[in-house]
Assembly symmetry: C2
Homo-oligomer: 310 residues x 2
């Protein structure tokens, strides 16, 4: 099971009834957080998922509303008893920015590792969990992230038996490795079933619409995307500040053929985002207005249907 929680839905500044936009994901014992604004640790506490389990913290960019909560969160992770490293991932200047912030959180009980993005190649490959950044357009280095859970084909023991492949080699073949034994070559394709669809969740903020995003989020099960402005007439403002309207986010969701779109990163001036949902749904019907701590449990297509808690 792949759990996704949109911790907050605000942009620019935290508000009493709206936390800043950040996303928490858990899969097979690995927890990762994307963005960490002021107060993110509070909404995390309300959600109740473990601080101690956070292995990776990814940043889209270094505007205050996406990273200002980092020193506090690291202190809280430290207080949770973690001693294993925490890896920070983000665009260039990551170490410089974080070292500036760590002046107020100097004595953490765990080491910090830095992983600066290098173009749009995968930045993390942990067995079947793969994180790939894609470029956003915010007038400064800014990236979205695709988090994929790759699904291996099923191993078919009846085929391995029929081919007379000795049992000790099954595991290697299952892993996808070719095996040579007494002159015979066994390929994984000989004993594996059909390709199976994995899971893909994408997160993109802050940005203007662009092709690199559409390519990066292609066919995602869930696309979490900024919609700073609901009003179509705010497009000029969106262009000026390198943000998006609901309509622009919905258009990208349609182009990328994703399954579901959650809008987030609402301007403080956007008091009632629901007001503009219909306009986005006319472009991409499966659009939802994000709510703080909206959560989705994604399951592989060949498992049960996914459950959503909203």
């Amino acid at each position: 099971m792949f759990d996704v929680c949109l911790l907050g839905t605000g942009g620019m500044m935290p508000l009493p009834n709206r936390w800043l936009t950040a996303c928490f994901m858990r899969y097979a014992g690995t927890s990762l957080l994307i963005d960490c604004g002021e107060g993110t640790q509070i909404t995390m506490r309300l959600q109740g998922w473990s601080f101690k389990a956070i292995d990776y913290i990814l940043f889209t960019h270094y505007h205050g509303d996406h990273i200002s909560g980092l020193p506090g969160l690291l202190l809280t992770i430290g207080n949770s008893g973690r001693t294993e490293p925490v890896t920070l991932i983000g665009p260039r200047n990551l170490r410089r920015v974080v070292e500036g912030l760590l002046l107020i959180a100097p004595d953490l009980p765990f080491p910090i590792q830095y992983l600066e993005l290098n173009g749009d190649t995968p930045v993390l490959e942990l067995k079947d969990l793969v994180v790939t950044p894609f470029r956003a357009d915010h007038g400064m280095p800014c990236f979205g992230y695709s988090v994929e859970i790759r699904r291996k084909p099923r191993f078919l023991p009846e085929k391995a038996k029929a081919l007379g492949i000795p049992l000790p080699f099954w595991k290697e073949l299952q892993k996808g490795n070719t095996v040579e034994h007494e002159g015979a070559i066994y390929e994984p394709s000989m004993v594996l079933g059909e390709a199976r669809r994995g899971l893909k969740v994408c997160y993109c903020t802050d940005s203007r619409p662009r092709d690199s995003i559409v390519n990066g989020v292609k066919a995602a099960d869930l696309f979490i995307c900024e919609g700073m402005y609901g009003e179509e007439e705010k497009q000029t403002k969106a262009k000026e500040y390198r943000h998006m309207t609901f309509q622009e986010a919905a258009t990208m969701a349609k182009q990328a053929n994703v399954k579901e779109l959650w809008l987030t990163h609402f301007s403080p001036s956007l008091i009632t985002p629901y007001q503009y949902l219909d306009e986005a749904r006319r472009i991409f019907p499966n659009t939802k207005v994000g709510k703080d701590r909206m959560t989705k449990v994604l399951k592989f297509a060949d498992e049960e249907n996914a459950g959503v808690t909203e």
Copy 2:
């Protein structure tokens, strides 16, 4: 009128129902904030006092829970339209620490001025508003603050008339300056009434008890002091982490002969601070357990009685 608001009452980390300890004060058009942890801007917004009016931000020390909200607050002050300078005040290394934090809030529309503390001499004297730091003991440079509104004696025109002092000199005498005119020397004491009691509010966190605090808060109208632990048996822990128990704070309030004590900066493990209030009150009867956004309006003794909103 001198307005004081205890914005939060937590220590270490912000909690869903308890903001970090910080104090907001307003007097005669000047606003000052002491400490600014993660989320302080949210509780400020709930309080409703102006962001734009903040002239001074003072820091007791640079642990994350006392300064982590600074970049976000400065961005919000910027968004409020302020262009006048904001002055930051704190122990040594102020500029170095703040410049580290400003990497995520680089383009503020107002200048920042730095005022590093130099011992325990007054750090601000704005007409009748005087801010004086006093040393705390937290295993690192840490200061409490005394904020005084000095009250001038009343000017007595009947005395000035009786002495035949020409009208143009009255204002100078009223300000406390001596005037010489045609061989005669007029002293302010000749035309001013008795000394009048001003107002004094003190804020101290984080610290062990010590004499410099007792001296600094002497005869304060309101002493806001940390009480990290309520349980008397946590004194060993308080010593280890350079904090105080309720009893220790109450003892200092008694020694300093203050009028009223508000306890704050509660440990996250201290869920129900009220449970330990009686023990503090046995030492210093006018002790109150701080609550987020507890507010007091202080008035001069010769004006109406002070009003409290809790």
